[in-house]
């Protein structure tokens, strides 16, 4: 099963980082690659099972379902319903863990999915770099200049 894993230390307390990423409908606000997003059926974005439909800046359209949201674990799990990437059974989790010695946040973003074997390497690389790493980098940049250590 192809797996993607990216992680990073964000120089801000976990509550601050969580408040940015918690809203399932807010990708355009904090990621560099999403142009617009809406929740289908006017559901609240923290309703488990809600679906976000968003458009990438490169034009691609993606629909994802919220499978789990935990304000206790600071985690969010979702699956892909439709995307131009050609993946199946795609489940991803974005999770924050507080760093008690230092006050920062450890952020990890991981996914598992199925795909044709010949596309595995390219997909792992593409998702890891262009989605997870780019998203985490944007988070890190967002908190870099605020003076948090």
């Amino acid at each position: 099963l192809p797996q993607v894993y990216q992680s990073r230390v964000i120089e801000a307390p976990v509550a601050a980082v969580w408040s940015v990423i918690r809203d399932f409908n807010d990708l355009p606000n904090w990621t560099p690659f999403v142009a617009e997003s809406r929740i289908e059926g006017n559901a609240p974005p923290d309703q488990i099972g809600c679906i976000r439909a968003f458009r990438l800046k490169d034009g691609g359209r993606i629909r994802e379902r919220l499978l789990a949201l935990s304000d206790y674990e600071f985690s969010q799990t979702y699956s892909i319903l439709e995307s131009p990437m050609g993946v199946e059974n795609y489940i991803a989790t974005l999770r924050l863990i507080p760093v008690t010695a230092g006050g920062q946040t450890f952020a990890e973003w991981s996914a598992e999915f199925d795909c044709p074997p010949e596309r595995e390497t390219a997909l792992v690389d593409q998702i890891g770099r262009n989605v997870f790493q780019a998203g985490l980098a944007a988070l890190a940049d967002r908190f870099k200049s605020t003076g948090h250590r």
């Binding site: 990073r8 230390v9 120089e11 760093v99 008690t100 010695a101 790493q133 985490l136």
Partner: protein, 528 residues
């Protein structure tokens, strides 16, 4: 129910940190709260392994490994026996990869049952005595570059050294071996190829046959037998002369029964190694500090455990001038009084060999250092080492000067190697809740006196013993690595007062006792 969670970012990739954590019996090598750790029997990475921990605070614990995963990089263990009243706990440690950045993330979760009445005491013990020193030990060893403030460059260099690339790879570390594991090869008589034979070496040595003044130091010829099991034999390039040698010579302490060869510090080249020595070989440049005495000689044997391989960029002269002083400074500033940035520090004998190292290192850690020297000629040296201000004790009242410099507050910590003569001034120089670290007695023993009078200002007094803090080869190695790292930054610059031919050891002692020295006094069998 008690839950304790600790987490930290460590400045090294998981590949470097995990091997340390998965060695269930080797935690004393990095856990700052452990005096020793040892797996009772069997392999340290076998699920079911039982380890015995001795804490620096005195407690003993036995813990059993109940899960270990190299895939998750996690381990789980539980308490099975404790010397103090402690309810059973289960703890899990997990390491997570940080894909962006040269670091990793450590999580430690501990859960214990127990009545509410004992909860806060248990929480304090488990959190502050078990978890925090572990995190601190790992952070000290793997300091994250991104968290460094300007004053903490030290550990960054340490980290580079640890990564073992390029020249740093030459810091050949001895393999981590659980305490108590046999250090002898299974078959007696198997020796490393570097062993040169069983020849007895002849060596010039300085011997104390009776206690007394410098004149009792006599030069003679001795034989140095081949190294025994666990020993190395080395030829000295330089030998450090320390106050403890003077105390031993005078019959106060430190030398044992006579006749004896004094000296606790030296640097040179390994001639041959005894059975069971794996991390050193003939030709290695090493330095050592500590017992047993015997350094005042051309050649000697000593336990391999106290010898530290020298990095290529540190010459033997500098090593002999700084190892004992540097390791002492390290334990004083990191263990006896973990120095906080911004603290005010008073260092007596600031221009002495140890004093200069202590001042420079304290400043590098972010403290403001006030030095005390005995005469005006030493002021410049103390200032150059990093003192923000220097008090000359021959013409100034130390406590009064400290009060004036600190707006009446006093200092947070005093490092006092002088003893009786400075004890009162040191106490009077302290701020409320200040800490007097008394670690030498050049002027005579300090009497504890009336403890009650400390109470009015909540004063603490420590009287550390070098041996307590360098009790395993790993501890020694860690301290030496930290010393080499800070020497490399140039923030600590040992000064050499004088180098004497070995047969002139008596002159070297007179010089040291004169209190005229600025920096370290050395002997060398290679000059004169």
């Amino acid at each position: 129910m008690i839950r304790i969670t600790r987490s930290a970012v460590l400045g090294a990739p998981v590949e470097q940190v995990w091997p340390l954590l998965r060695d269930f019996g080797g935690w004393h090598a990095w856990h700052a709260g452990l005096a020793s750790s040892q797996v009772d029997r069997g392999a340290a990475d076998a699920v079911g392994a039982v380890r015995r921990l001795r804490l620096r605070t005195g407690e003993h614990l036995r813990e059993q490994l109940i899960a270990l995963s190299d895939r998750e990089m996690s381990g789980t263990w539980c308490l099975i026996e404790a010397s103090n009243p402690l309810d059973p706990y289960v703890a899990t440690l997990r390491l997570r990869r940080v894909t962006h950045g040269d670091c990793c993330f450590l999580e430690w979760r501990l859960q214990a049952d127990g009545p509410l009445s004992r909860q806060s005491a248990a929480e304090r013990f488990l959190g502050e005595t078990l978890c925090d020193p572990a995190i601190a030990g790992l952070q000290g060893r793997f300091r994250s570059a991104s968290l460094l403030s300007a004053g903490e460059k030290v550990d960054h260099v340490q980290r580079e050294a640890d990564e073992g690339s390029g020249r740093a790879a030459k810091f050949a570390r001895p393999p981590i071996r659980p305490l108590g594991a046999p250090s002898l090869p299974s078959e007696e008589g198997i020796r490393p190829a570097s062993h040169t034979g069983d020849q007895v070496m002849n060596s010039l040595a300085v011997v104390v046959e009776r206690h007394g003044g410098p004149e009792v130091l006599r030069t003679t010829r001795v034989t140095v037998p081949p190294p025994g099991p666990g020993e190395v034999r080395l030829r000295h390039a330089f030998i450090g002369v320390n106050m403890i040698d003077v105390h031993g010579r005078a019959g106060e302490f430190g030398l044992g029964s006579l006749p004896a060869v004094p000296g606790m510090e030296g640097a040179g080249t390994i001639v041959d190694v005894g059975p069971g020595v794996a991390h050193l070989r003939a030709g290695d440049r090493v330095a050592y500090a500590g017992r047993p005495p015997g350094a005042y000689a051309e050649a000697r044997s000593l336990p391999a455990a106290i010898a530290v391989p020298l990095p290529p960029d540190l010459d033997a002269r500098m090593a002999a001038a700084s190892l004992l002083k540097g390791i002492t400074a390290d334990l004083l500033l990191h263990d006896v009084h973990p120095l906080q940035p911004g603290e005010l520090v008073l260092v007596h004998a600031a221009a002495g060999g140890l004093g200069l190292v202590l001042c420079g290192w304290a400043k590098a850690l972010g403290a403001t250092v006030i030095g005390v020297v005995s005469r005006d000629s030493k002021v410049d040296a103390a200032a150059a080492a990093g003192c923000a201000a220097v008090i000359v004790s021959s013409r100034e009242d130390v406590a009064q000067a400290v009060r004036e410099m600190t707006g009446g507050r006093g200092v947070d910590v005093v490092f006092d190697a002088i003893g009786r003569a400075t004890f009162e001034a040191s106490l009077a120089s302290l701020a409320p809740s200040g800490h007097l670290v008394s670690f030498g007695q050049v002027s005579g023993r300090v009497s504890a006196g009336d403890v009650d009078r400390l109470a009015s200002r909540s004063i603490r007094i420590s009287s550390p013993n070098f041996a307590e803090f360098v009790d395993t080869p790993d501890t020694l190695r860690r301290r030496a690595d930290r010393l080499f790292a800070i020497l490399r930054t140039g923030r600590v610059r040992p000064v050499i007062d004088s180098v004497w031919p070995l047969p002139q050891a008596a002159e070297a002692h007179r010089r040291l006792e004169s209190r005229d020295t600025i920096g370290s006094v050395l002997l060398s069998p290679e000059i004169g």
